[in-house]
């Protein structure tokens, strides 16, 4: 993981990314969360905040848009994960400022608190993308074998 210099003198990103499609079903919100935890964990990064943000964005797709959705995860630099959830409903989410006693509307509030940046945009196909950039801690990879000792 990291960057390698190119012959043009610019840095060339070799950060990983992954994408998966999910159905418009509550169980697929859970599946999307597990997928994100597995992917981001495999990048040796902390998964707590990503799991929560993915859950809230995926729940928005399933509960509000009520369409299948695509989850894309991309590492932007050593510690920032870009989460994008694309659904097939062009309606933009309403800004969430729930009162203390509100029983819903806290999903995007949580996203707002955990993400360094987030937003929504329409696509030319009439879809919508909810995205969030989440800064996550690096986790030491204790599983990496000490190859130099096995000579």
């Amino acid at each position: 993981m990291g960057r390698i210099p190119s012959v043009m003198g610019k840095t060339l990103s070799v950060y990983p990314s992954t994408t998966r499609e999910f159905k418009a079903d509550v169980s697929d919100v859970v599946a999307a969360r597990r997928f994100a935890i597995e992917a981001v964990g495999s990048w040796n990064l902390g998964t707590d905040d990503v799991a929560l943000v993915v859950s809230e964005l995926a729940a928005n797709a399933v509960v509000h848009a009520r369409t299948p959705f695509v989850l894309a995860l991309s590492l932007l630099d050593d510690q920032v994960v870009l989460i994008e959830v694309t659904d097939h409903d062009h309606h933009m989410p309403l800004p969430a400022q729930p009162s203390v006693w509100a029983t819903n509307g806290r999903g995007l509030m949580i996203v707002d608190k955990l993400a360094a940046a987030w937003g929504a945009r329409a696509t030319i196909d009439g879809d919508k993308i909810l995205w969030a950039e989440v800064r996550v801690p690096q986790i030491a990879d204790d599983q990496t074998p000490q190859l130099s000792r096995h000579t």
Partner: protein
């Protein structure tokens, strides 16, 4: 979801305790809602929700707890949360609800409720 969350009824006469574990999210929110509805229907206005074994809480499940808190207070009771997991405390804090629920770090912290539950 077919999950049934059974309350633990304290022999001491304290309020019923809902002991939850794992991921408490929108998939399990209906089960949590049913369990709380049943306790309310049984006449309990004070409920303890033990989240010590919960490692994930989303906004949907949190909404169920907030609604339950409001209903318990309307009935003259309260809804106590037992929380120690930093991830769960963080969700309560960033949603501004950490000061809304009575929070306890251990189950024994709610033993004082025994008399309160009997006195309704």
């Amino acid at each position: 979801m077919d999950e049934t969350i059974q309350p633990v009824l304290e022999a001491s006469g304290g309020p019923p305790v809902l002991v939850l574990d794992g991921e408490l999210d929108l998939a399990r929110a209906p089960s949590l809602q049913r369990a709380i509805d049943q306790l309310r229907a049984d006449g309990h206005s004070t409920i303890v929700v033990d989240l010590l074994g919960v490692n994930f809480l989303d906004s949907t499940a949190l909404g169920v707890l907030v609604a339950a808190l409001a209903r318990c207070r309307e009935a003259g009771g309260d809804l106590h949360l037992i929380v120690a997991e930093p991830r769960i405390l963080k969700v309560l804090e960033i949603t501004g609800l950490a000061g809304t629920f009575p929070l306890h770090p251990t189950r024994t912290g709610t033993l004082f409720l025994a008399g309160e539950a009997n006195g309704q």
